[in-house]
Every structure is written in C-alpha cells, then in structure tokens.
Subunit: 241 residues, 2 copies
Amino acid sequence: MIAQDIAIKIKHKIYAPQTFLPSEHKLCELYGTSRETIRKSLEQLNELGLIQKIKGRGSLVLNLQRFTFPISGITSFKELNQTLGMHAKTVVLQLEKTMVPTSLAVGLSNEQPAFFLERLRLIDGEPDVLDRDYLLSPPVEKLPYQAAEDSIYAYLEEELGFKISYATKEITVESAPAAVREKLNLSGEGLVVLVRSLTYLADTSLFQITASYHRPDKFKFTDFARRKRILTHTKERKPQL
Amino acid sequence: MIAQDIAIKIKHKIYAPQTFLPSEHKLCELYGTSRETIRKSLEQLNELGLIQKIKGRGSLVLNLQRFTFPISGITSFKELNQTLGMHAKTVVLQLEKTMVPTSLAVGLSNEQPAFFLERLRLIDGEPDVLDRDYLLSPPVEKLPYQAAEDSIYAYLEEELGFKISYATKEITVESAPAAVREKLNLSGEGLVVLVRSLTYLADTSLFQITASYHRPDKFKFTDFARRKRILTHTKERKPQL
DNA sequence: AAGTGGTCTAGACCACGTT
DNA sequence: ACGTGGTCTAGACCACTTG
C-alpha cells in the first residue's frame, strides 16, 4: 500500500522527476511504520524503475516514462488500454471449449481441455494484434463472453480469486499463417512478431497459453531492467591450458 | 552471497526442480544468519524466476530454463556466450572517438563526445547481430580494443569500477539501412529486429546508447515476469455519465 | 559532523497448508 | 497442532555524500 501510494504521487508529479523522495526516516514518520517496512516499499519502486536509490544521497525519482508503456510485466491489454488512453478496441472472434492442440503441449499430460479464445485488437480502428489464448479448464471452469471482451485477468483475479503469479514470454519473428495474415491485413512477406506466453498461478500451475501475433510495423516492446549479478557471476571455469 | 550460493546449487541440481528448498528456518541455521536476511536472499531468487514461494508450503524450485537464455536483464553478449556455450564470436568492425549524432540525442546537452563501436556477432560462423554502441566519454575515458573484443561490461565494472545499474530497452521491427543489410547478409525486404538500449550507472548518468540489429530469423527474446499490482491499480477514474 | 541509504538482528504475530 | 512463508518491529552498525 505504501509503495502504491508513493507510486501514485510520482505519477501525479507530487514527487517530481529528478527530485529526491523524503528520506526513509521521514517516510517512517509519514506512514507511521518502521524503516524496514519503508525500505521494502522503496525496493518495489526501485525494481519497477520508478526511483533510483543512491547511497548517502537519497531516492531519486526517475523520469523514464514508466507509465506510458509498461508492457514488460504481465499486463493485460485492457490495463494497457486504460493506462495509455489509446483508442483501442477488442473484438472477440471466437470463444469455445476445446482441447489444447498437442503441438502446443508444454509437458501437458495427454488431453487437456481448455477455452480457446481468439481476439483481435484494434487501435484507432486498425487491426494491430491477434491474440490466441488457451485457458486451461481446470482451473478455469467458466469463461463468460463478457469477461473475454472486457478483461480476462480482472475476471480471474477479482471474480474467481485467482492468484496470477508469473509468466514466461518468448518473442520471435515468423511468417504468419494465412488466416492470421488476413485478419491483420498483412501485405508483403507476411512477417509477424510472435509473442508466446505461458502464464502461471501462485501454486505454479499453468493456466494460460497465449500466442500473440503483432503487425511488425506497429509492434513495440519496451523494457526496464536492472543489472543483476547473481546468475552472471556463476562463470564456468575454463580448463587451464 | 547467499542468493548466489543457492542459485548455484539450483543450477547444479543440488536443489532439484520441482522440489522445495530447505525451510527459511533451516537456511538460517545453515548460513548462520537471521530470517530476514535469508528472506532477502530468497526474494532475489523469486524475482529472477528461480523459485516460487508458496505460503504454508515452502520455496519451490522452478524448472524454467532460466540458465539457457537469460537475455531479459542487462546481460552482455560475452556473458551470454559463456552461459550458453554457443560457438559465438565477436568481430570489432570499428572503434573510434567521435561525437554522438544529434539524431540519437536523448536529451543530451549539445556536443557529446563518445566512443563509437561497431561489432558483428557471429554464431556458428553466421552473422547474427550487428551492435552499434556509443559509450559516452565522460564517463568512459579510455576504451582499449581488447575490451571491445572481449567484454565491455567486464572492463567497465572490474577494471574501472563502474556501477552499471539499469537500462531501458525498446524492441521494434524496422527496415535495415543498406550498410546493415549487407553486413548481416539480409535478403528479401531487409527487415531487422532493432533493439535500442539506454544504459545508466548507479548515479543515474547515461553512459551507453546502443542499437542492436538482429537477423529476424535468428532473433529470440525470452523474458520472465512476475505479476505486479502497483502500477496497474492506479486506474483512471471515468467521468460519471 | 550530520544525514543518507545498506545491511543485519532477534524477536513477534499472522495466514496458510499439512498432518 | 505444527511447520511453513508473510509481515513488521526497534534497534544497531556500516558506508557514502554533503556541508
């Protein structure tokens, strides 16, 4: 809650870019909590790229446009839409209960029922993205048309109490199938940016398999990343020559 | 150090995928530290996608191949090369001191000297990526050819004591300039995946501007992301109609 | 010297899952 | 009932930056 409160204040420029937040000590008094609690909040903002903590000086508000296009995380299209104020529209092309194709089977055991959902995303009236989702049927038992048109994540989290936890994404460039090419009004070689996602719940069970086909001329992915020194320092020892 | 130690044990399957780590209490005893310290370590592993913490049960080791292609962070090509055991090679095409083109000026004040560096990355003998870097000249005063061929990050961090902190990345698909097209042996429409990065030091000063041109057929970006609920909940209030 | 963030501690209480 | 992780506390000492 503290992190969110500060994030909102940064968003509204109450804490302006290039200025320092109140010191951790002052934030303790402001929120009436201990310092470690404040520090955990600031750590979240640091990880998101909203601030940069500088030893001996303070927590500097960054002016990176983290609110303009926060795609990197697991952000649903609807949320993006709200945040950006784009003139975006979602058209549900298909919604039916089927089986997950074995070609997509990611270590899935045999036949796996799922809701298949195909949605076309339009921005300013132009087709931009075609999403194909499989929502595995345990755990997703029902999927109202309204949820598909609105926001699946809002439905799952708020209505059903699902705890969506993490996702893996893979971005490649591929030649689009004819059906996709048609729906996206593609010309030329028919190359699309393909974003494949696997999304998991807090109990580590897989519940969503997505293929997102993006028009290459409209595709833009922005990312914020902090330098980690955990995995990279585990260098292989080279044999002594 | 604790996070790294556990990460290595996960990598070497001492802690196997789909099993639980020792409980936080046991890890306290193992490392002789307090619980909060263990928890901070586990939080790092959680953020990296190595484990999933489950309340009431324990910390589950995930079997996502986080060691096979950890591109998402700020990982230098050399590090990737080591991690993957790919037959990769870097050819330095150019290294000279110039000015940053004003077209790239990202709020840079006037004339900004920098080292321009062009490198071709070959994988299994095939050109795969063309990197064009500008390393701003304060703070980078010298740039030995050897560092460019080996690893710039290792040089900056280990030799010069730089603290590389974070980067923004932007991925788009564009038509490659003729010079790039040639060096990458591109045919057809000459589309490339363009990854633009701005990399910053811990004091928030910009020091590197990179454009990476990837052959679209070789490009692959994988990402691990956890669901955040800080930015997304700051919904705009809709006007009451 | 004073203020800042970085790290750690030894305890506490809670919520969740399993037995 | 017990063990697990989730959260918080009130203090401590350190390292860095600035006046």
